[in-house]
């Protein structure tokens, strides 16, 4: 049980830390969302889906812009995964047999780039990975969430 005294101490500490770091508090949900604001959020997401779609289908210019090389064999992700089928983003994280390890979707994307496609591993937190992830999730967005399923 946390006492009233301790709550007060905690509040003071947080306030000091916040001031000490010069942090600006951001209130994300204090005002009602306007329709154009929601549309802007959607636009940001769909732009990532579009870029991911182009990468997934082997578009050379998009790879060049993002400084990635996803394949050295001429193969693109979509050649084995039309409509992003068989990517199963809704089943990650899980034990991934090919890697013999517990893996995330991002781990699997890099495995496919390096092994079947013989391309160059991409930054797991970089823009190309986020775009690929956006496209794969969007394509499978109506699938049933089922993490861990083999």
């Amino acid at each position: 049980m946390v006492s009233k005294k301790n709550y007060t101490r905690l509040a003071i500490v947080l306030a000091l830390v916040s001031l000490g770091l010069g942090m600006q508090q951001v209130y994300a949900h204090k005002e009602p969302h306007a329709l154009d604001q929601l549309a802007a959020f959607e636009q940001v997401f769909m732009e990532q889906v579009r870029v991911g779609d182009l990468l997934f289908h082997g578009d050379g210019d998009t790879q060049k812009n993002l400084n990635v090389n996803l394949s050295r064999t001429g193969m693109a992700c979509a050649m084995c995964h039309p409509f992003a089928s068989d990517t199963h983003p809704h089943e990650f994280p899980k034990f991934q047999e090919q890697m013999s390890q517990f893996a995330t979707l991002r781990d699997m994307i890099n495995w496919c780039i390096e092994k079947p496609n013989e391309g160059e591993r991409i930054d797991p937190d970089g823009p190309a990975m986020k775009a690929l992830e956006a496209y794969i999730y969007w394509s499978n967005r109506n699938s049933k969430l089922d993490p861990g399923r083999h």
Binding site: T73, P82, D86, P116, S139
Partner: protein, 375 residues
Amino acid sequence: MNERKLLQLEMDRTLRPEGERPSSTTVMTRRTFLHKSLCYGAAGAATYALLPLINTMDVAFAADGQSFRFAWLSDTHLYPKSLNTRFVDKMVRAVKEIQGMNPPADFLIFGGDLAQLGDPVELKLGAELLGEIKIKKHFIPGEHDWYLDMGKTWSKMFGAPPWTFDHKGVRFIGLDTVSHGPDYWTARKMTPQERMGHMATLDGSVAGPWAGLGSEQLKWLNSTLSSWGKDKPVIIFSHNPLYEYYPQWNFWVRDWREVHEILKPYSNVTNIHGHTHQALYNEIGKLRSIGMLATSWPWPYAPEGVPVLTRPMIRADPGDHFDAVGWSSLAVSGMARVEYEYMMWRKEVFATAPVDSGTEDNRNQILSPRIADRL
């Protein structure tokens, strides 16, 4: 109910009237053999592996009990050697095995998609590799062979379908299901490479539902069959399946209604097709339809429309490019049966448990078409 489901229902109503089945004189049995042979991997190390996928059909209808065998090879999707030797390696292996058939096959059917992007370099490489097969060869094109120069190089090198010949009591027909696609390139002022690129994208939306026979070829098919007995055996080769499986990936021909109207009076028709890169089996009215594997890579089963009569193949291992691919050997015998046999380079063809099945694997999957080529 979406448009695709309505189409599927229409196909069922039109083509599967109650009690309608392929001729009872041809009975399909399936066998799966596992062999061990030496396989040389990319690094040159000798490893034991399974022989390739072979689809063997013992067909009921050869005249006077004569047995014969023919081979099917398709969907090699060759790139220039400088870019990709993986597909070359697999085609070389299939070619050697076809040439090594004992007794030899009477002929080879090449079922389309020799090249990946229709490049003359790719087509010439394919012709060079196929030159190692010394038996008679018959060719039908795939869309990847055609849309760079609208079939000019292909037709010059391999001739233009449709064609027909009779062999030991069977009428064989080769169709062109790829060259009659609607013009999506002129108004958009596409280069030949851009036109080919859209056609080469299975899940693209720009080329649309391009697969079909076209009115002239339908007339030709009708006329070619009219001189053949209604109960005599016919084997039709096409790149795309002659029924509606999944139009978004052109796993169909758009004029399937007309095709089946023409085939309706004939009781002994088997369609052998490529393009789908997977084990497939279907019966539509009196027509039996069998999908062959690619040597290049396997496609996943489509999210909808897999024929209920199909026994799904095992899910492919993406880490092994010799898995779930192969060529086909088809045998025609005087016995009243049809047999085909799948043999894979790596695994047994069919899954023994749902968890290993190429369709069960996707039971929670609901997909959306791509968008980047529509924006």
